[in-house]
């Protein structure tokens, strides 16, 4: 089979993506830095770092810590605010031939809505609402753990969005299926998961927390089995498409998520270890399809049941 005969295109909410690989929010900035290493135009989509209404300074340092097979981060959603994003980052992104997904954060429901409203008139493809960041006191995960609040905020944000809406779910919950259903009931066009799992590291020599924020979000290959399980459970619970992530390092990891039910996948922590990780994931998926004589990636979505 030739590469040309293989279909990598997937569709979410009527939007076609040239392949199922995007970046995990917060691990790729707005693409600028990684554009030195990879051709952004090859990405299925580029998902940006979380953007808020005003600039956010984020948490004190240290903000990251290495853990066994993973890492903790407590960046605290530092970002330049929606104005700079629209004026500087968006034009940069538009110079590439890829879909743009903007990750949105807020401290209050109103703030989420305001950012979403601002972006509704911009040339972006989808919005991803981050209600699952474990590293900020207000907003973030507070909205994302209780199904009732998930549904409520989804409904509310949906009112202000002219763009298809992805709700990004927290894995720090008892029943991910319930939360997935709540997002669906609220009108989400898709869900993405998993955000990071809340973790902690103590420096026993200093007898102190390693992170200034005490806790941080655990990501990387260490969490992949939990992420795959949650994607599987979410896929069993809802009809809307799923963007799966959590520890994807290569094509095979990505395929695990797709077979568990994800329509797209996002590459996060892997970028830090290998700046070309996104490209290698795309290549790995393509090589797998070729090797196994599969014409269309869509055949594999949720194929393991």
């Amino acid at each position: 089979m030739k590469n040309a005969d293989i279909n990598l295109k997937v569709n979410i909410a009527g939007i076609t993506f040239q392949n199922p690989v995007t970046t995990a929010s917060g691990t790729f900035g707005s693409g600028m830095e990684y554009s030195d290493f990879v051709d952004l135009s090859r990405l299925g989509a580029l998902t940006t770092k979380g953007v808020s209404l005003d600039p956010w300074p984020g948490n004190p340092t240290p903000r990251v810590a290495e853990t066994y097979g993973g890492m903790l981060n407590a960046i605290g959603l530092q970002n330049p605010g929606i104005d700079v994003f629209i004026k500087r980052d968006l034009p940069f992104l538009k110079s590439y031939n890829t879909r743009i997904i903007v990750n949105v954060v807020g401290k209050t429901e109103e703030e989420y809505c305001a950012v979403v409203e601002r972006l509704s008139d911009c040339d972006v493809d989808m919005l991803e609402v981050n209600i699952s960041c474990p590293n900020v006191k207000e907003g973030g995960i507070a909205f994302g753990q209780d199904p009732k609040r998930v549904e409520a905020i989804t409904k509310q944000v949906k009112k202000y969005s002219k763009k298809p809406l992805i709700i990004k779910l927290s894995p720090n919950v008892t029943d991910i299926g319930e939360n997935a259903k709540a997002a669906e009931a609220g009108g989400a066009d898709a869900i993405s998961l998993i955000n990071t799992l809340t973790g902690m590291k103590i420096d026993v020599e200093r007898r102190a927390f390693v992170l200034a924020n005490k806790t941080g979000g655990l990501s990387g290959p260490a969490i992949k089995p939990i992420a795959v399980r949650m994607v599987y459970q979410a896929a069993c619970a809802v009809q809307i498409p799923i963007i799966g992530m959590g520890g994807i390092m290569n094509g095979e990891d990505a395929l695990e998520f797709i077979m568990a039910g994800a329509t797209m996948v996002a590459v996060g922590t892997a970028n830090f270890i290998n700046p070309k990780a996104t490209m290698e994931v795309i290549d790995g998926i393509e090589a797998y399809l070729k090797r196994n004589n599969i014409k269309d990636i869509n055949e594999l979505i949720g194929c393991v049941r």
């Binding site: 830095e33 984020g58 903000r63 990251v64 290495e66 993973g70 890492m71 530092q78 990387g220 070309k276």
Partner: protein, 255 residues
Amino acid sequence: MTLAVKRTNKVLKNEKIAEGIYDMWLEAKDMASFAKPGQFVSLYCNDGSRLLPRPISICETDQSTESLRLLYRVVGKGTEEFSKLRPGDMIDCMGPLGNGFTFEGTRALIIGGGIGIPPLLELAKRLSCEKTIVLGFRDETFLVKDFEKYGSTYVATENGNLGTKGNVLDAIRKHRLTGDIIYACGPAPMLRGIKEFAMESKIKAQLSLEERMACGIGACLACVCKSVKTDPHTNVNNKRICKEGPVFYAEEVIL
């Protein structure tokens, strides 16, 4: 467009030169030729359980062999792994990263403390102005001979083993050292002291800072320091040490 690349480099040499301090030379095509003093590389562990890169400053470059010298202290699992590499072994490496020192002034005062000393060697080598070098150690010294080639070199040791007993500022005061530009790298308390000294003495100072990193290229916002003014990139009072730094003017940053 930065000139950074990621590639697997061959270890040419890796020797212990003082207690817990290793001296490594890497074959580093592309990287060696682009490297500027004060820049660093991200070294990756071969062991898959350790994912994040270890930022290590470029100590010296050899353009003829396109190789890089790195001097590092074994402090944890990653540097311990590095210390076991033998010539011929391979190691993943990304760089050169960060901005490096800006050459300016006519009388440089180069101040290094402990494991902050290595990046100053390539600087001393390349700076063509008058150079006074001050190196501070806890007890055992290293690299002193290398520096002596490039300028008058003063040493301070905490226990008084060699040179002035005390820290680099004690040596500076004792010998009344001065200059019109300070280049400094070392532990945070030393840098705070130097910032104060520079302000008092009205000498411009470039300080090389450290912070935990993840991406090493400016994307993840892990490695910020507080800046006095709003940073044009981040639009908040944070500067990325891996990208806008690691070298900052003393007056730009809050230590």
